[in-house]
Structure formats: C-alpha cells, structure tokens
C-alpha cells in the first residue's frame, strides 16, 4: 500500500489575490453613484454641495470599511 495521498484537485494553495481584481472599479463606481445621488438631492433641495459631499464621504468610508472587514475575515 502506498502512503501517497491523491491530491485534492479542488483545494488550491494559490493566493486569492485575484478576488481583488475588480475591487478598484467597484470602489470608484460606488462612489460615483453615491455622488450622483447626492448631486440630484442637492439639485432638488437647493442645498449644494452638502449632499454630494455626504454621498462621497459615506461611500468612501463605507467601501473602506467593507474592504477592512473582508480582509480581516480571511
């Protein structure tokens, strides 16, 4: 009997850096959409630039927080 184990082809020891391949565009895209929503609210309420700024900071900090949580869970 051989002690050699058949390698499990479904388990991978490759680094999972590829999962971050699209994060940059997602980050930028989410900030753009939040800024656009803020811009439209500003236009409706005549409150420029406060909702746009709020949209930017909410999305920026929120996405950083998601990034932190995802990297911490690994």
């Amino acid at each position: 009997m051989s002690d050699n184990k058949v390698p499990d082809r479904d388990s991978s020891d490759k680094p999972d850096y590829l999962k971050w391949a699209s994060f940059g565009l997602e980050f930028g895209g989410v900030i753009t959409i939040f800024c656009y929503i803020g811009f439209q609210i500003d236009a409706a309420l005549n409150s420029s630039p406060w909702f746009l700024l709020a949209g930017f900071f909410l999305s920026f900090i929120g996405m950083l927080y998601i990034l932190y949580k995802q990297t911490k869970n690994k």
Binding site: G29, Y65, Q70
Partner: protein, 269 residues
Amino acid sequence: MTIYLNNFVVSQFDPLRPLIPVKLFDLKFGDYTVGVSNHMFMIAAAGVLLLFLLPLATRKKRLAPKGFQNLIESICVFLREEVARPALHENTDRFISFIWTMFFFILTLNLLALVPSDSIIYLVTGKKNHFGGPATANIWITGGLAITTFFVSHIAGIKKQGIKNYIVNFIPPVPWPLIPLIFFLELITAFVRPFALAVRLFANIVAGHTLIATLVGMIVVFKSYGIAAASVAAIVAMSFLELLVAFIQAYIFTLLSTLFISFSITNEH
C-alpha cells in the same frame, strides 16, 4: 489653408465610423420587423463559426491531442484548472460550460473584428457593404454579456444558499446600526460589477480599433510617403497588439465572471 484642408479631411475621415453599428437588412417575424445590424450579423457569424469549429476539435478523441484539437483542449484545460478551479473549487464542473462558452464567444467576436470582411467582400464583388465590424465595441452587446454573468452569478448564489441565507450573507457581519448603509453599498456594488465588466471589454476594443482607424487617417491627412510608411508600420504593430488584446480581454471577462460566480456561491462574508 493647409490647416483648413487638414481639418476638412479629418472631419470627413471619422475614426469612430468603423465602430458604429449599421443596419444591414430587416427580418420579419409575423407582424414584427427586426432590423439586423452588422454587429448582430457578427454575433450570428461567431455563433455559427463556433458551432462548426468546436465540434471539429472534439471529433476524434485522442489521448495525445494534436493540431487544432490540442489548441482548444489546452485553452479549455487552462480555463478549468487555472481560472475556474482556484475560485470555484468543487463547483467548477457546474459552471465550466458557461465559462468556456463565454471565453470562446468573446474571443471569436474579438478575432472576427480584426478580419476586414467588408473590405474583402468589396474587393471580390466590387459592392460596398457592412458585413463586418467589431461587435464587442458595442456597449449593448458587452452589456448583454455582462447581464448574463450578473443573472448566472446571482441565480447560482440563490440556488446554492437559499434566498434567505443569500440576503443575510450579502453583507459582512457589521454592527447593526451600519447594516442599512453597508447593505445599500453592497447592493450598488452588485450592479456596478456587470457595468465595470461591460465597460472594460467595450473600452478596450473601441480604443484599439479607433487607434488603428486614426493611423489610417494619418495617411489621408498628410499625403506623405514617409508618414504613410510609418503609419503602415504602426498599424501592423497595433494589429498584433489587438490580437493580444482580443485574447486578454476574453480572458479577463471570463476570469471576472468566474470570480463573481464564486462570490455568490461561497459565503464570502
């Protein structure tokens, strides 16, 4: 005067013209009439070509494949072992047919875009036509492909985890006051992903073809043998680069589609 003339020539020679869809003919389905554009024609041509060529590759089953069979098998094995399996693990075989289909379809569209089929038909028949063009330089087509990935990934996630678990696992574990904001952010991210996928493929193909058309335009604008020689050399170099881009963009689209499916079916958070 020279500047005026050059501007006139440039305005006549629009580098974006080869990218714009042109209506070829109408297809009638009962009371409905569907206009078929050159991009739709190229999609159909890619489909027919793949339906004809890929079975050819698997016609003779050999232990040591060679020739065209070897090429196709090498690509398939690479996509399965290097792209799909590290992300999907035991779910690889469930999604590999989708991944292979996406890759070969986008690659065929990208490669067909490099064949000047309309010019070849013009040379043979002497009739001006539009039976050619880069279908992946059409945002609606890349968008359609990205939406397919969107639905496949989310439906696969819901089937795997169940709708309740899928929604619960949609966001990472965060303190409860943050849940609405993070859920909204993740929801927007889910819609940004296919958008980024579509724009990435569209922008790369548009950029390459516009650059080649601009280099052709330089010959018309400057009317100089020196610049014509340089332009032709640059067009040949760019065409080789476009060949590389055709493979790279098909690979990146497939890779990201695989990742999005893996995000949905595995509990990322």
